[in-house]
Symmetry: none
Subunit: 200 residues, 4 copies
DNA sequence: CATGAATGAGTATTCATTCAT
DNA sequence: AATGAATGAATACTCATTCAT
């Protein structure tokens, strides 16, 4: 049999993934301040020295998390088949993706928020976050352009500006007091009315 | 920047205001992590012990800043005469206020962002930030309701959801790469198109 | 009328007495460590700076307290008329004095204990405490000598050593778990049996 | 005094013992106030952070010392073979033990005194000191009871009260000015005369 | 790979004391 | 006499990082 008998032998890559997961959970719980190397090690179940064996420094760790966040985000987006959908359907898919993430992986959005804030003064974080935000923006913008082109969205819609509003609106929906699936959907429906062609 | 020795002795109230200002500047520069009591004292030009004489603890300090932020926000809003303006003019006033703050008091928005993040796990901060956000939302919502009533805004506009989008859109505008007056205005103009009655 | 209309005008001496009282209460409550100038000022109802106006330093304060303790102790002893009493009656008076102090001014004994400990490394405190302890020892020793002379106490009693035991026994009585008037009296009665002439 | 660098790495248990010893020496020298974590670390020859690695807090440290004191006390008592001794011989063994400790391990008695004072307001210290004092009292009381039973001690002796006096007398002997072996022995001899049966 | 022990540089907070008013 | 404001020096404790094993 080629199956590894020794399960304790995890390769460094899977350890790093495990660590990134622990860090994301901790950032979601306690924020960036409050993130302690010792807590991370404890959560993974290893010694601090071992943590430092896998990750050279706290800064490197944060970069790692930013990258893992970006990778997850893009992987999720790529997983969805959007080719045969109308622009409106694609927009709705965007909404439902976002809603799913908010309820099933809330940590993802929370950590993204914290990272976004940190990106402002940490170039390494910015290097991972900016392309992610750019990718998302581009995605939404393409949908809006397609909708404007086929007449389902407003003719006077300015895709770049509208993409900012669509994304900002989705994020704002999650920051309402006591957000629920219904309160999110109310905002998403309003976004639709914002962009749809009134005469269609 | 440093206060001359003979001006060092002030009354507690003005000292507290001065301290709150220094803290806001430091949070804007370095974020919440990175906020050090020593740096605050240095910026105000006083001893750390003196800082603690005026402010009992870091926690109290943060609460103080959250309150000062809220007070400033509401004061600025109250300062504007909105009575005789049309809903659209009021919305545009909202935009220009926001743009002014972004360019003239960028620190205000930056600190608000950091505070918003922190509010999630600090009830004392939440106690100051939640009403502020609520006040803002209410303000925008009232404008949207008035516009829907007089026919200048969409008839199918849902004021609460739309207010979230308007605010979220404004905030998102500032988070674009290299935000300028023009890029902000492009988003603001798009928000207008989002809410205006297409048949008016 | 010659009565001072201005009650606020307390002369420094009475202020110092008041301060010494507050310090004794605080030492009894929290011990020597735990004694804070600010707490003293608070208890007296004055500002710290005012406290320092009356008392130059914490060290001087402690000396003051040691002296006040000694003065009280000697004053109480002098207040008792012992001339016409038999040695046994005088010893019993010693016991009842001590018992009264323990129940009515417990703070006095507690502070004396703390001071005794401190005297070991603070010469200024030692300077006040040593004569006090010496005065007490001398007092008890004189009683024991008189009793040995008149045959009411043991003939083989060694006054100096016995005085140490009598005083040590009284103090030890207060350090039993849950000391009560009865438990004190049991020890006092045993001390009596220790020193009395068995053949008398 | 300072451990050489290559001996610096020891196992935690021996480090904790070493630390407890350093703390006892420092308390004996400077008392409870005056006890500084930095000084402890210096005396052991380690960094403050290392000290905190082995001992979580100052409070825990004090508890540790109280326990080490109690363990030493009981160990010393247990080491003596008392079975075949007469009550008077046992009492004299008690005296000689105490005298040995006073001259060879003066720190032990000094720290016990400080701890006794502190036990009053620190339950964790009380938890270690009370049983120790209780054990000692019980030991002495058993001797006195045996002596009363075999007629070598006074028939009217009340063992509990007398035990308090015996212990109190021993302690008082050490608090005389300039205590010497002779001055201690004079008090011990007087204690003997206090408890012995005059008609034996 | 893993870890117990160690550490330098910080971090908020405290405290006795001073000084201008 | 009294006080609000100020401060230097300390104090316990923390944290990311290192290193010998």
């Amino acid at each position: 049999m080629t199956a590894p008998a020794d399960l304790a032998r995890r390769d460094t890559d899977s350890r790093r993934t495990e660590i990134a997961g622990a860090v994301r959970a901790l950032i979601a719980e306690r924020g960036f301040e409050g993130l302690r190397m010792r807590d991370i090690a404890d959560r993974v179940g290893i010694n601090i020295a071992t943590l430092h064996y896998h990750i050279p420094s706290k800064e490197a760790l944060i970069t790692l998390v930013a990258q893992s966040l970006r990778d997850d985000f893009i992987a999720q987006h790529r997983a969805q088949p959007r080719e045969n959908l109308s622009p409106l359907e694609q927009l709705r898919l965007e909404f439902s993706d976002f809603r799913d993430t908010f309820f099933n992986n809330p940590e993802r959005l929370l950590v993204m928020g914290e990272m976004q804030e940190r990106a402002r003064r940490d170039p390494a974080v910015a290097a991972a976050m900016t392309p992610m935000r750019g990718y998302w923006h581009q995605q939404v913008r393409a949908i809006l352009e397609a909708g404007r082109a086929d007449g389902s969205f407003r003719a006077d819609l300015e895709p770049a500006a509208a993409a900012a509003i669509v994304i900002g609106g989705m994020v704002a929906a999650t920051k309402q007091p006591n957000p629920s699936a219904e309160s999110l959907d109310r905002v998403f429906a309003e976004i639709e009315r914002c962009v749809r062609n009134p005469s269609s």
